[in-house]
Amino acid sequence: MKYIALIYYDPAEAPQSGGSMNEAYIDFNRRAGAAGVLAGGDALQAPATATVVRMRGGEAQTMDGPFAETKEQLGGYYLLDCADLDQALHWAAQIPGARIGAVEVRPLMIFNA
C-alpha cells in the first residue's frame, strides 16, 4: 500500500534549518531507501510562500497564505510504500519532523482501472 506522510510543524517552534536536522533527514532517506519503502517525498518552502486558489462561479479566486490558518503547517511529505499501517507508522515515526511537530499518515486512494 502507498501512504503519504504529511509533516506538520509550527514555524515559530521549528529550529533553524540546516545542521543536525539536515543530517537526520539524510539519514532517514538513506535508511528508508535501503528498506525499499521510500517512494518519494519533498520539503516545502515556508507557509508564507503559499497561494490558495478556488474556482467560484467560473472564476478563479486567488488568495495569499496557506489554506489553514493554524499554528501547525505542512512542511513536507514522504510517499511510503508499505505492507500495512503498522509499517507505515513505524517509518513515519522516524521522520525527523515527528520529533518537533506531527506526521499525519494517510493511505493513497487506489483507482481501479
Binding site: 500500500m1 505492507a83 500495512d84 499501517l85 503498522d86 507505515a88 494517510r106 493511505p107 481501479n112
Partner: protein, 437 residues
C-alpha cells in the same frame, strides 16, 4: 428447543471465532459481518428443517464463506477478485473434505486489530464488544448511552478505516508487543470500569459490561498464556468484581472498602484473583496491572498491610506517573497514619485534579482527620457537585452530614474516627484512573 435459541447461543459464543476466521481470509470486517449474518439467516431455515448440525459453528463459517463466494460471483468481479476467490474456494474445499472441521482460532489477531491505536479509544471499546464480545450494536449503544444509529455509524466508520488505512490483522512483533498489548488491556479495563462504575447510574438498563470484560480477559489469557500483565488485569477485575455485592449499602449508597461486609464478598473470585497474582509475580516482569491486582489482594486480606500498600503505590508511580496515581498514593500514605504529610501531598494536586471528584472527597476526609471541620465540609460540597452517580452522591452526603454533626460540639463525642474514602471507582482502594493507560 427450536433452531432460533440454539442459534442465539452459538452466535454468542462463537461469533468472535467465526468472524476472526473470516477476517483472516477476507481482510474485510464489514464483509465478514455481513456474510455471517446471512449465514445465520440460512441457518434458521436449514436447521429448522434438517436439525442442528454436529458442529454448528463450523457450519456457520462454511455457509458464510459460500455467501461471499456467491456475492463475488454475482458481482462478476471474478477477474479482480481472482486471488481472494481462489483462497476462499480452497478453504471451502478443505472444509468439504472434512465435514466438521475445527474453526481456526484467529481471535488474537482480531483483538489486536480492534484495539489498534489508530482507532479512537471509544471506538476500540465498541468494536471489541461487537466483534469479540458478541454484543449487538443496540446493546453497545445502550451501554454507552448513545443512540443506535450513532453507534452503528461509529462501528462502520471503524471497519472502513481498518480496511482502507491498512490496519493490519496481525499479532504485533516483539518491538511493538508491550505497547500494543497495553492498548488491548486498556480497552478491556475501560469496558470493566464502565460496567463497574455505572457512571450514569442507570444500572438495570445496561448489559453487564464487567462480566463481558472478564470473559474477554479470560479469552486473551487462553490465547496468550502466561502473559504477566494479562494475568494481572484478570486478577484485578476478578477481585474487584468479587466485592460487588458489598459495594452498595441497603440505602443504595456506596460503602467504602474498609467498611464493607466481608461476608458478602465472593470468596471464590478473590481466591482466583490471588492465585493469578501469584502466578503473574512468579514470571518476574512487573507491570501496572499486576501492581494494582497486588494492591487489591492486600485489601482483601484478613489483616490489611497498609505499609505494603503504600510501597506498591510507589512502584505503580514508576509505571504511571499520573496525578490520579499520586492521589491514591497520598491516600495510602494517610492510611499508614501520616495524615499531615498526606494532606500536603493531596493539596499539591489541586491544579491537576480540581475537576476530579475523588480529589475533593479525599481532601475532605484528610481535612476532617486533621481537625479542619469547616474546610472538610467545603471539600465535600465540591465533591458532591462533581459526582456523576446517585450511589456516590448518597455516600458523600452521608459523610458531609457526619462532618456537620461533628462540628456541633454536643454531638462531637458520637463521631467515630473518619476513614479516608474516595468515592466512585477509587473507593475500592484500587488505583483506578479514568484513563487507564
Amino acid at each position: 428447543m427450536g433452531a432460533a435459541p440454539i442459534l442465539e447461543a452459538i452466535h454468542r459464543h462463537e461469533r468472535g471465532r467465526i468472524l476472526a476466521a473470516l477476517m483472516a481470509e477476507l481482510r474485510d470486517l464489514d464483509l465478514a459481518e455481513e456474510a455471517l449474518s446471512e449465514a445465520m439467516e440460512s441457518a434458521l431455515v436449514h436447521w429448522g428443517r434438517a436439525g442442528v448440525p454436529d458442529r454448528p459453528g463450523a457450519w456457520l463459517l462454511t455457509a458464510a464463506r459460500r455467501k461471499v463466494i456467491d456475492r463475488w460471483r454475482r458481482a462478476a468481479r471474478l477477474a479482480a477478485r481472482a486471488p481472494d476467490l481462489r483462497l476462499l474456494a480452497e478453504a471451502d474445499a478443505a472444509a468439504r473434505e472434512e465435514p466438521a472441521p475445527e474453526i481456526p482460532d484467529e481471535r488474537l489477531r482480531l483483538i489486536f486489530t480492534c484495539s489498534h491505536p489508530a482507532l479512537e479509544a471509544k471506538t476500540r471499546v465498541a468494536l471489541t464488544l461487537r466483534t469479540l464480545g458478541g454484543l449487538t450494536t443496540a446493546e453497545i449503544a445502550r451501554a454507552f448511552l448513545d443512540t443506535e444509529p450513532a453507534m452503528g455509524q461509529r462501528l462502520s466508520r471503524a471497519k472502513a478505516k481498518i480496511r482502507e488505512a491498512g490496519i493490519p490483522f496481525a499479532v504485533p512483533g516483539p518491538g511493538d508487543w508491550a505497547a500494543r498489548l497495553g492498548s488491548v488491556l486498556a480497552v478491556l479495563y475501560l469496558i470493566f470500569n464502565e460496567g463497574y462504575a455505572v457512571t450514569a447510574g442507570a444500572a438495570p438498563l445496561r448489559v453487564d459490561l464487567s462480566a463481558e470484560a472478564i470473559y474477554l480477559a479470560r479469552m486473551l489469557d487462553q490465547l496468550r498464556p502466561d502473559e504477566p500483565e494479562v494475568l494481572g488485569l484478570l486478577a484485578l477485575m476478578l477481585m474487584t468484581d468479587a466485592r460487588r455485592a458489598a459495594r452498595l449499602g441497603p440505602d443504595g449508597a456506596l460503602v467504602a472498602l474498609d467498611r464493607q461486609d466481608r461476608r458478602l464478598w465472593d470468596r471464590a473470585g478473590i481466591a482466583e484473583g490471588e492465585a493469578l497474582v501469584d502466578r503473574a509475580m512468579a514470571l518476574c516482569a512487573p507491570g501496572p496491572f499486576q501492581i494494582k491486582a497486588a494492591i487489591a489482594a492486600l485489601h482483601a486480606a484478613p489483616e490489611i498491610d497498609r505499609r505494603q500498600i503504600f510501597l506498591l503505590y510507589d512502584s505503580l508511580l514508576r509505571f504511571e506517573p499520573t496525578p490520579v496515581v499520586r492521589l491514591n498514593r497520598a491516600v495510602a500514605l494517610a492510611e499508614t497514619g501520616e495524615t499531615a504529610a498526606a494532606l500536603a501531598l493531596v493539596e499539591a494536586l489541586r491544579v491537576d485534579l480540581h475537576s476530579y471528584q475523588p480529589f475533593h472527597a479525599a481532601l475532605a476526609e484528610l481535612r476532617l482527620r486533621a481537625g479542619q471541620g469547616a474546610a472538610a465540609a467545603e471539600a465535600y460540597g465540591e465533591a458532591i457537585a462533581r459526582s456523576g452517580n446517585a450511589a456516590e452522591r448518597a455516600f458523600l452526603r452521608t459523610r458531609l452530614a457526619a462532618v456537620q454533626t461533628a462540628a456541633d460540639p454536643k454531638k462531637k463525642a458520637e463521631q467515630s474516627s473518619a476513614q479516608v474514602q474516595q468515592g466512585g471507582k477509587d473507593t475500592e482502594g484500587t488505583p483506578v484512573s479514568h484513563e487507564p493507560r
